[in-house]
């Protein structure tokens, strides 16, 4: 059986080259092409490829982030990264034994990589995406598949017992990331207003005081105010003049 391959690269000539190389490789069959990370996720869900050839540097959602989201799928595909030159990524790939190919890609190497391609493990993904790299989207698992929420659309994260609720412009969803991890990843874009709540700085509107002296923060586009701890209330006022 031939391996179904999805080609992901923002540059048309690069996609074209991979397609013509793969046509000459017996054990591979191209099922689709994508030019962005978002498109790659959609195509993966629709076409169910066995292997995704993923360019590292792409506009918007890059290859490393797309790989992270791909791994949330029910049946994640194997991933092979492709890159022309990216010292930092290559060091991480080598350290984590993650498969990658250097452009211009040689046919023999491509064939060998497709034969031996494996799924990425969660620790591998964490290591290669680095500590400072922030995602452009939050991926949410649904029955129908993945839904992507642009980080700019997120209003707040609320920690519940086991999950985290993410409230965004189009509704609410449950994700598995901890508040702690989200705070580390998005740093200055978010502010912790309470033990269980992280809000997006760009949606902060004003602070109100309830009848019993407790504080609430109102976010743009949210009807229900969120409780603010006493200590954070004064800090918010000073930092954001609200």
């Amino acid at each position: 059986m031939k391996a179904k391959v999805l080609i992901v690269d923002d540059e048309a000539p690069a996609r074209e080259r991979l397609r013509s190389l793969l046509a000459e490789i017996d054990g591979a069959q191209v099922v689709g092409e994508a030019a962005t990370g978002e498109e790659a996720l959609r195509q993966t869900e629709d076409l169910g490829p066995d292997v995704v050839l993923l360019d590292v540097r792409m506009p918007g959602m890059d290859g490393l982030e797309a790989a992270r989201h791909l791994n949330l799928l029910e049946h994640p595909p194997a991933v092979i990264f492709t890159t022309a030159y990216d010292e930092y990524a290559l060091n991480a790939f080598d350290a984590q034994a993650v498969g990658y190919l250097l452009k211009p890609i040689r046919k023999e190497k491509l064939a060998a990589a497709i034969l031996s391609a494996g799924r990425l493990t969660r620790p591998q993904l964490q290591k290669i995406s680095g500590d400072t790299r922030r995602r452009s989207h939050i991926a949410v698992k649904h029955r129908e598949g993945l839904r992507l929420i642009p980080v700019e659309d997120v209003q707040y994260f609320l920690a519940e017992q086991k999950y985290t609720t993410v409230r965004h412009l189009k509704g609410e969803d449950l994700i598995e990331d901890s508040l702690r991890a989200l705070e580390d990843e998005f740093g200055s874009d978010l502010v912790r207003i309470h033990r269980n709540a992280l809000v997006s700085v760009r949606y902060l509107e004003r602070i109100e005081r309830g009848a019993e002296g407790q504080y609430f923060v109102c976010l743009r586009g949210c009807e229900a105010p969120l409780a603010v701890s006493r200590r954070m209330a004064s800090e918010l006022r000073e930092r954001f003049r609200i």
């Binding site: 923002d10 540059e11 048309a12 000539p13 690069a14 074209e16 080259r17 013509s20 030019a35 962005t36 540097r57 506009p59 918007g60 022309a84 030159y85 990216d86 250097l102 452009k103 211009p104 890609i105 922030r134 452009s136």
Partner: protein, 360 residues
């Protein structure tokens, strides 16, 4: 380091550290030379050359070393001042030291101790003329020394700048990212469109020839624009419709002399940071203007929020800044910064054409 090189003309860093023994030795040397000069010029019949030199040296050493100690003490604050003010403060301090020590010497000459020893001939008679003359001589000698320090410092800065420019030129050469991506494009075109592949190889060769050439330090604007266009052609193959470059440089004199690789690295930065990160691509605008013999070139590209956090294009800018400074001195200017959703680099330098260059 770069701050020192960038603003070398603006602060008093040119003053040496007077706390070092090297500086003290230098001051002793200056003092002794001045003493010899004064003694030779005066030809005092009463006490003879050697005695005169001896007492002048003793007097001047007091002034020199007290002055050095004082400058050592206030040196840290002095260095923060601008050149003109720093120099004025040094002159004032030295004048004060000269006046104070001259005053002491004159008082010593009046004292009983000296009169009893019959040595009053060694000391000056009138206070006012003595003070006035000494302070004037002190100011002239100090001014000469300051000038010497300043020139030495400028010379050293220039050497450092040239060395830095050479190092940065090596580092700022075309990004490997660009080379390997272009190779990949060519590999792809070789199969699908051999004619275009051939042109791309020729373009790449021309670009690298311009990049590797040591001789073409100074080229005409025409030549530089040609290199930039070749670069644009290669990137267009790869980025397709995502890349737009608007050239509005008609007012520029094409025979103007510029340092090589002035525009191409700016375009490279604009594409790498401004166009590649945008899924729909964008437009880089290159505008050129000329007013009263000053050429202004502005390169603008869109920036995304995410890309703005990255900090990779300093090297190319630093290199262009240094090379403009080397070629045009203070008349060359590079400004760069983010304005809203755009990143704008402005170059300004005087128009020098080949005819002028030959006569110079």
């Amino acid at each position: 380091m770069s701050a020192a090189a960038g603003h070398g003309g603006n602060d008093s860093l040119y003053l040496p550290d007077f706390c070092t023994s090297r500086a003290a030795l230098g001051i002793v040397l200056i003092v002794e030379l001045t003493a010899v000069l004064l003694t030779l010029a005066r030809e005092n019949p009463l006490i003879g050359f050697w005695a005169d030199l001896w007492r002048t040296s003793l007097f001047l050493l007091w002034i020199g070393l007290t002055g050095a100690a004082l400058l050592c003490w206030v040196g840290r604050h002095l260095r923060r001042l601008r050149v003109a003010r720093g120099s004025a403060v040094v002159l004032a301090l030295i004048a004060a030291v000269v006046a104070a020590i001259s005053g002491c010497a004159w008082l010593l000459g009046r004292s009983n101790l000296v009169e009893d020893a019959g040595a009053s001939v060694l000391f000056p008679p009138g206070l006012a003329t003595f003070l006035l003359r000494n302070v004037s001589i002190g100011l002239v000698v100090t001014a000469l020394a300051l000038r010497y320090f300043y020139v030495t410092h400028q010379w050293r800065l220039n050497i450092e700048m040239q060395a830095a420019a050479r190092v940065h030129a090596l580092q700022a050469r075309i990004r490997p990212h660009f080379l390997f991506n272009s190779m990949n494009t060519i590999a792809s075109l070789t199969r699908s469109n051999p004619v275009l592949a051939e042109q791309a190889v020729q373009d790449l060769a021309d670009l690298f020839r311009a990049n590797l050439s040591e001789k073409r330090n100074v080229i005409t604007l025409e030549q530089e624009c040609e290199v930039a266009r070749i670069y644009q052609r290669i990137e267009a193959l790869r980025l397709g419709t995502r890349l737009h470059i608007e050239w509005k440089i008609d007012p520029l004199p094409r025979d103007a002399l510029v340092p090589g690789l002035l525009l191409q690295p700016l375009l490279e930065n604009a594409i790498y940071h401004g166009i590649e990160p945008q899924p729909q691509g964008g437009t880089v605008t290159v505008t050129g203007e000329m007013a009263s013999d000053l050429i202004t070139i502005v390169v603008r590209n869109p920036v995304t929020d995410r890309e703005a956090e990255r900090d990779g294009n300093r090297l190319a800018l630093a290199n262009i800044r240094e090379r403009l400074a080397l070629m045009y001195g203070e008349r060359g200017l590079v400004k760069a910064g983010r304005f809203g959703t755009e990143y704008i680099v402005t170059l300004r330098f005087p128009y020098i054409d080949s005819a002028q260059k030959l006569s110079a």
